[in-house]
Each structure stands twice: as structure tokens, then as C-alpha cells.
């Protein structure tokens, strides 16, 4: 009895040692690139910090300025919400719609899948430049084609009221990324469920509502959460099409772009950290709201999950 106890604790110690050893790269990552930066970023957010002089503690001043004196903060917040509230759902619906279309028993499925998926893995800088050209107001393909059917196309990326819709359109070109995830889930839905439903007299629409949607709901939640986190940090496309300015008239000045400019053009590092914390809290609140609502609309097949 005693012997086995010491053996077990010896084994336990060895497991702990090995476990920590194998995990050590990420433990260093956690300490150096996450934990320490979180703490110091919070401290910086309470400081005046321009990188040349050491940070000077100013309390909540950065946050006060942010909420009361920075119109660009609200502009960038508005632009970002626009993408979250309009762009994200439109993209999610399109990728779900395509996945449903693709899930029919059609020949050449792999061909279509490739067709739709490819744009989503192409370099964002290259695709942004491509769309800059496609959406060029005078010479771009989109407006010249609209012109041929007698429609005067808008200014797209150079018109303040059209720049965000243009970016959303551009984003839809990458809808294949979400589509393949939906498609993988669709193909995992057990065929018997459809058979059982049709035996019970469920038509196509009833099958979709009562079989497909519930079975897909965990993946919809996954895509929604990932999309939410990503959209709140929307940056590269806006940087490329506006050359970092967020123009025209701040219509593409998204939160992350404003933060980047504040930090690395104005060197107001403390202020940028305060912005980052506000972004974090907004992302967290939105994610939690989605998670809480998910109890009502997400169905897990293995109840115990």
C-alpha cells in the first residue's frame, strides 16, 4: 500500500514535470506575450505615454477624453458597428445560402466548392487592390457594366456614404470561408433525421426548419462569434483602400485603424491602450450577449455537452 502510494506520487511528479516541460513554449508565450502585456497595457491606459519619456500616471484622463472629447472615437465606433450589424449578418447569410445550395446532390460539387472558396484565402492586400480597381467610379468594371444597362454607378470607395457598402460587397467575395465550415457541418447531419422527418410528413421547408437549422446552429454560433471578434478588429482592407487615412471623410476609419494611427502616427500610446480596453469590453459584452441568447437557439445533439 505504502509502496504504491509513493510510486503514484512519483509518477504524479513526473507527469507534472513532463506536462510543464511540453507546455513550456506556450507558458512562456502566456507570461511574456499575454499576461505581462495585459497588465502593462492596463497601466499604460492610465498614463500619458509617448514612448520617448517614461509613462506618467494620469488616472482615468484618457478614458474621459475618449468619451467626451474625441469625435473620431465615436466616428470609428459607428463605422465598426455598421460592419458588425450590417456587414457581418449579410456575409453569414450569404455563406449559409451558398452552403445550402451546394449541399444538393449535384455533380461537380468539388468544382463549385473550389470556385467559391478560393477568394477567401487570397491575400487581403491583393484582393483589396483588385476591388479598388473593380469599384473605381469612372473606369471600374462594376460601374462600366452598370453604365451599359443605363445605371449611373455610385462613387463606391471614394464616396463617404458608399465606402462601407463597398467594403461589405468586397467582404462578400470572401464568403466562401464561412461556406466551407457550414458545408462540413451540413454533410455531418445524419441522413436518418431527414428520413424520419419525411416519414412524419415534413415537407422540404419543415425539414429545413426542424432538422437542418437546429443541427447547424452550433456552427452558426461558431461563425457568428468568430465573425464578431474579427469584425471588431477590421483593419487591413480599410488601411489598403484608404492608404491608412480612413477616408473619404473618416467613413472607413474603423476602430482598429483609428487605434493604430493614434498609437503609431501620434505616438499616444497610453490613449491607444485605453482605446484597446474599451474595444475589449465591447467585444466581450457582444460575445457574452450572443452566448446568452444561444441557449435559446443553439441545439447540441449530444445533450451532455
Amino acid at each position: 500500500m505504502k509502496l504504491s502510494d509513493t510510486m503514484r506520487s512519483k509518477q504524479g511528479r513526473r507527469d507534472l514535470r513532463n506536462g510543464l516541460l511540453f507546455a513550456s513554449p506556450w507558458l512562456i508565450h502566456l507570461a511574456v506575450l499575454i499576461a505581462y502585456p495585459i497588465l502593462s497595457s492596463f497601466y499604460y491606459s492610465l498614463c500619458n505615454y509617448d514612448t520617448l519619456r517614461p509613462p506618467r500616471f494620469i488616472g482615468l484622463e484618457n478614458y474621459r477624453i475618449l468619451f467626451t472629447e474625441d469625435p473620431l472615437f465615436y466616428a470609428s465606433l459607428w463605422n465598426t458597428f455598421y460592419m458588425v450589424v450590417i456587414g457581418l449578418p449579410v456575409g453569414l447569410f450569404l455563406s449559409l445560402g451558398i452552403a445550402l445550395l451546394m449541399n444538393q446532390k449535384l455533380s461537380g460539387m468539388a468544382f463549385y466548392r473550389t470556385l467559391y472558396y478560393l477568394p477567401s484565402i487570397c491575400p487581403v492586400v491583393a484582393t483589396s487592390i483588385l476591388w479598388l480597381w473593380l469599384l473605381n467610379p469612372e473606369m471600374g468594371l462594376v460601374n462600366t457594366m452598370l453604365g451599359q444597362i443605363g445605371v449611373q454607378g455610385p462613387g463606391w470607395l471614394v464616396a463617404p456614404e458608399w465606402a462601407k457598402p463597398a467594403l461589405i460587397l468586397m467582404g462578400l467575395w470572401g464568403a466562401g470561408g464561412g461556406m466551407v465550415i457550414y458545408l462540413a457541418a451540413l454533410q455531418d447531419v445524419p441522413q436518418q433525421l431527414y428520413e424520419a422527418a419525411s416519414l412524419d410528413g415534413a415537407g422540404k421547408i419543415a425539414q429545413f426548419r426542424h432538422v437542418t437549422l437546429p443541427m447547424l446552429s452550433p456552427v452558426i454560433l461558431f461563425n457568428l462569434i468568430m465573425g464578431l471578434i474579427g469584425t471588431f478588429q477590421y483593419f487591413t482592407q480599410a488601411y489598403v483602400i484608404s492608404r491608412g487615412s480612413g477616408g473619404p471623410q473618416d467613413s472607413t476609419l474603423f476602430y482598429a485603424l483609428h487605434l493604430f494611427n493614434v498609437a503609431f502616427l501620434d505616438f499616444r500610446m497610453g490613449y491607444a491602450c485605453a482605446m484597446a480596453w474599451v474595444l475589449f469590453l465591447i467585444t466581450l459584452a457582444a460575445s457574452l450577449a450572443v452566448f446568452r441568447s444561444s441557449a435559446r437557439w443553439v441545439y447540441y445533439a449530444g445533450e451532455s455537452r
Binding site: 506536462g19 511540453f22 506556450w26 502593462s40 449535384l106 451599359q148 465550415i181 462540413a184 492608404r243
Partner: protein, 276 residues
């Protein structure tokens, strides 16, 4: 499911092809614009098939910018990132899936939580660390972190490692092997598809990354393709055929990679997306 009627099959194909135009046409326009003369680029109505294919545009584009320097820089960064991500993420995933140690599960929750943290929160202190190390204008800020594992790939590999029967580990233990033997002789060889997925996604992530190079690389000779291409737009905003040629050159490797590794892609998405 019953076999679909011919008519409904046709409707399916027509819808998919019509939608497909939206996804294919921009590619077509990207490639054809890069082969056009300026007259054709700006012609109204648009020229769908260029009369002469000006391959010289590609030569011009790669000489306008130090294209091959950018390519070399990008490949170096991609190579080290892939090496770092595959080795470190598999080690950490092994610890989180196949060794039992106190605190492991709590720490794994922390790992998952870090995926929700916007990069902006840690951005400035991390920038400060790399600057203090003298790493600005080197590739190290873009490659070194990959050697410390990234949460998403650790999570993915952990899910995969957990599907490997524990009996295989026990067999090695009975033969007197330790954790390292299990890891290197059993787990890694069985996980080639998952490791390939991690490598592939890391490669594409580094190839496409713009924010990192923008932040850390100021010297033009250190720039990557993403960064170089973006600066090209700023300098030659209206030379569309050259811009499209350069964009084409940057996109083609990704497309080739996709066709060679299609299965790895599709399987990887299925694993990473949902099988959590």
C-alpha cells in the same frame, strides 16, 4: 434522399454558376487587366479579351518594385513561422491532451480564453518588448512568437491528439519509453494530416499578413509582398495593369498551394471549425 429530377438538377447548376460568376469574374478581371495595354485598361465599353497579351507588364511590375526581395523576405518569414508553429504547437498540444497534470484543464481554459482577446490590447506592450530587444526592422517579431505556440493551433492539434487511442501510449511505456518517445514515435507520425493543416494555415497566414509587417518593418528592403504591394498602390495608384500584375503574382502561389493541398485544406477546416 431521393434522386433529384433532371429539371431541379438544372436549376441547381444554373443558380450555382450564376452565383459563381460573382466569385470568378474578379479573378478574370485581375488576370486580364494585368495583360492589357493602357488603352484597353481604360476602354469603354470594357475589353473582355485583350487583343495582345502584354506579358511584359509582369516584367515591368517586378522591376517597378523590388519584387524578388519582397518574395525572398516573405518566404523566409513563412518558412520560420511554419517551422515554429508546427513544432511548438504540437509539443504543447501533447501536454494538454496526453499527460495528466494538476492545473492542466484550468490552463487549457485560459488558452481558449486568450483567443477572445483582441490583439490591440497587447499590441503596444508587445511592440515595446520587441523594440527593447532591438528587433524592429528584423523578421524576429514576425517569426519568433510562432515558436511559442499559438492558441488556435494548439487547440486544433489537441482535439486531434485526443482521438488517438491511449493504449498506443501505454504500449510504448511498457517497453520502457518516456513521453518523448511516445510523442516522437507514435503521436507525430499518426498526426501528419493535422500537422500539415497547421503548417499550411500558418504559411498562408504569414504570406497574407499585413499588420505585422506594417508594424515592424520600416526598411523597404525588409518589406514583405503584402507591405510592398500596399506601398506600390500609394506610389503608382493609377497604373492598374502593373498593380494587377503584381497582385496576380502574389495571389498565384496561394492558388497553386490550394490545388496541391486541397484535401488538407478541406479536412483542416472540418476539424478546426466544429469538431470541438
Amino acid at each position: 434522399m431521393k434522386r433529384r429530377s433532371i429539371a431541379s438538377q438544372w436549376i441547381g447548376h444554373v443558380t450555382l454558376l450564376a452565383l459563381g460568376l460573382f466569385f470568378v469574374l474578379p479573378f478574370y478581371w485581375l488576370v486580364t487587366t494585368s495583360l492589357k495595354s493602357d488603352t484597353e485598361v481604360f476602354a469603354v465599353p470594357p475589353v473582355w479579351v485583350p487583343k495582345d497579351l502584354l506579358w511584359g507588364n509582369f516584367v515591368k511590375a517586378v522591376n517597378y518594385i523590388p519584387f524578388f526581395t519582397f518574395l525572398k523576405n516573405t518566404l523566409i518569414i513563412c518558412g520560420f513561422s511554419v517551422l515554429g508553429a508546427v513544432t511548438s504547437s504540437s509539443l504543447v498540444a501533447y501536454s494538454f491532451s496526453r499527460i495528466r497534470w494538476p492545473g492542466r484543464d484550468a490552463l487549457f481554459l485560459v488558452l481558449l480564453a486568450t483567443m477572445m482577446l483582441p490583439g490591440q490590447v497587447t499590441l503596444i506592450p508587445v511592440f515595446g518588448i520587441f523594440r527593447a530587444l532591438g528587433w524592429i526592422d528584423t523578421f524576429l517579431p514576425l517569426t519568433a512568437p510562432h515558436f511559442l505556440g499559438s492558441a488556435f493551433y494548439i487547440f486544433m492539434l489537441r482535439q486531434f491528439f485526443m482521438t488517438i487511442p491511449m493504449e498506443l501510449s501505454d504500449a510504448v511505456r511498457i517497453d520502457g519509453g518516456g513521453e518523448w518517445d511516445i510523442f516522437s514515435r507514435v503521436i507525430l507520425p499518426l498526426s501528419r494530416p493535422a500537422l500539415a493543416t497547421v503548417g499550411l494555415f500558418t504559411f498562408i497566414g504569414s504570406w497574407n499578413d499585413f499588420g505585422g509587417p506594417l508594424l515592424y518593418l520600416n526598411d523597404e528592403r525588409k518589406a514583405t509582398l503584402s507591405l510592398g504591394l500596399q506601398q506600390f498602390v500609394s506610389q503608382h495608384g493609377a497604373e492598374w495593369s502593373l498593380l494587377m500584375a503584381a497582385s496576380t503574382l502574389m495571389t498565384i502561389p496561394i492558388i497553386i498551394l490550394f490545388f496541391f493541398a486541397q484535401r488538407t485544406f478541406i479536412q483542416g477546416i472540418a476539424v478546426s471549425g466544429i469538431k470541438g
